[in-house]
Amino acid sequence: MIEVENLGKTYVAEPVVRDLSFFVPEGQVLGFLGPNGAGKTTVMRMLTAFLPPTTGRVVVAGIDLDQDPVGLRRNVGYLPENVPLYPELRVEEYLRFRADVEGVPRAEVAARVDDVVARCLIADVRRQVVGTLSKGYRQRVGLAGALIHRPKVLILDEPTVGLDPNQIIKVRELITELGREHTVLLSTHILPEVEQVCERVFIIDRGRIVADGAPDALRSRLVGNPSLAVELTGGGEAAAAALAALPGVVGVEAKGEGRFHLEHGAGSDPREAVFRLAVERGWVLLEMSPQRATLEDVFVRLTTREDALAGQEAEVSHA
């Protein structure tokens, strides 16, 4: 659905996006993750035919950006960062304006407006002037506008920024639902959002992809061995050595006060062995929990490692 080859953008001699290549199949919900200034917005603006790329090729829904930018736009619904809207229009007027501009067949406009109003839960503000809406409603009106022409691809630039927690949940639910019918590409720097909403994640930094994969796969590939947090009493000094001797355990770190951090091989699960050992030695097991590295870890690791490599023309690690 989205094909990008060697995409690059240079603003006044400074490369913002470098040699980006990726492919997004139909129906995927893809998260674009990266620190501020990583080039997320620039990439999105190129995918929506707003900005011309300096180098490379973009094909969306089978249409080449170079050959038919206007045709490409017909297949893309875009919600820019900060949701620009016309404050003087009523919600309904705005949606009708969007429908006209997007080329929705005239006979269908009224039905489409009803449809997006219902889907985006903005029926109660239909007649209200856009300038008087709260941030949460603005966001949903913007989303409704981006959906009005039923685009194959939806591109959302930080769709939950500035919302309160309840609104965030609503917008996320909406995006998850939209993902069933559209190919969705969304950018964010809120990591749990990506884990909840996206099947696949790109982490981009300094205009390059530094990681690409399912959130789970990224975690296990990039954070190394899985680990287990254990807390017990009665073990004393000897406990660390005994735990380290268990099959599958690669390393033990004593954290004091009976707490240990066990690193184990990816295929093994030492929980049973830990339990038996405790029973055998008469220790009381207070806690035992597998530690899942969060995407935060992945993110911090990747984007700071890039910092360390800055200056070197390091090979892009597609991890």
Partner: protein, 247 residues
């Protein structure tokens, strides 16, 4: 066409949902009315040369030009500058419309507003007609001149509005450009010997062009000059938008 029409409609809603439109319309009518009164009383003086009041009204006084030079930038300053400032241009130009459609739609909305400003002045003609016989030919030509001048100046303003995200700066650029266009023809008066250059300046003299229209002379050279300048500025506006749409 439908897309352009949607842009025109939205633009007109924007005009009339801000107080600016009403202030401009009121001020324009008050001033035009006052000038019309002055012209009529001036011509009532038996010592003044015989002239029709409408010939003075259409471009025969400096007031006509002052209004035009002030009002046009106010009409056009918002057009594209505001879209770029608020970021709505990003939504507009990621939908299947071209920069040219955006420029033309906005320009036509400005043109509609401009024509609406002039519409009430038709009453002056009606009032004069009730007290004397008037020749409708020159009146029609005068209005044609007003429309053509508006076409050219509004196109300049549209171009200026693509150049800044600040409305005030866009207005000042438009004003300066229009003053330049207006005064370039006046160079004719500074040159004593006749030369090709002088003819060129004379050709661009908006004052004499407008005066011709007011006399009832529809000179195709004037029509072509103003129309082609307008189209040129609109073309430049579309190109400028292509380059400047992102900050």
């Amino acid at each position: 066409m439908r897309k352009t029409w949607a842009i025109i409609r939205r633009e007109l809603i924007a005009y009339f949902s801000s107080p600016l439109a009403y202030i401009v319309m009121t001020a324009f009518l008050l001033m035009q009315g006052y000038i019309f009164y002055l012209i009529v009383s001036f011509l009532n003086n038996p010592q003044t040369p015989a002239m029709t009041p409408l010939r003075l009204f259409f471009g025969g006084t400096i007031f006509f030009w002052l209004f035009l030079l002030f009002v046009v930038p106010v009409i056009t300053m918002r057009l594209i500058a505001e879209e770029r400032r608020s970021g709505t241009i990003e939504v507009l130009l990621t939908s299947p419309v071209t920069e040219a459609q955006v420029v033309v739609g906005k320009f036509l909305a400005a043109m509609a507003f401009y024509l609406a400003l002039w519409l009430p002045t038709v009453f002056y003609v009606v009032i004069l007609g009730r007290h004397s016989k008037i020749d409708l030919g020159p009146v029609a030509a005068g209005y044609l001149g007003v429309v053509l001048l508006g076409f050219m100046f509004l196109a300049v303003g549209t171009l200026a509005s693509t150049l800044s995200t600040n409305q005030l700066i866009a207005a000042i650029i438009a004003f300066a450009a229009m003053v330049l266009l207006f005064s370039i023809g006046l160079v004719e008066q500074l040159m004593t010997s006749s030369s090709v250059l002088r003819d060129a300046f004379a050709h661009m003299n908006l004052w004499t062009q407008m005066d011709d229209f007011a006399k009832g002379i529809v000179d195709t050279r004037h029509v072509v000059y103003q129309l082609s300048m307008g189209v040129l500025f609109l073309f430049l506006a579309a190109k400028s938008l292509e380059v400047k749409k992102w900050r």
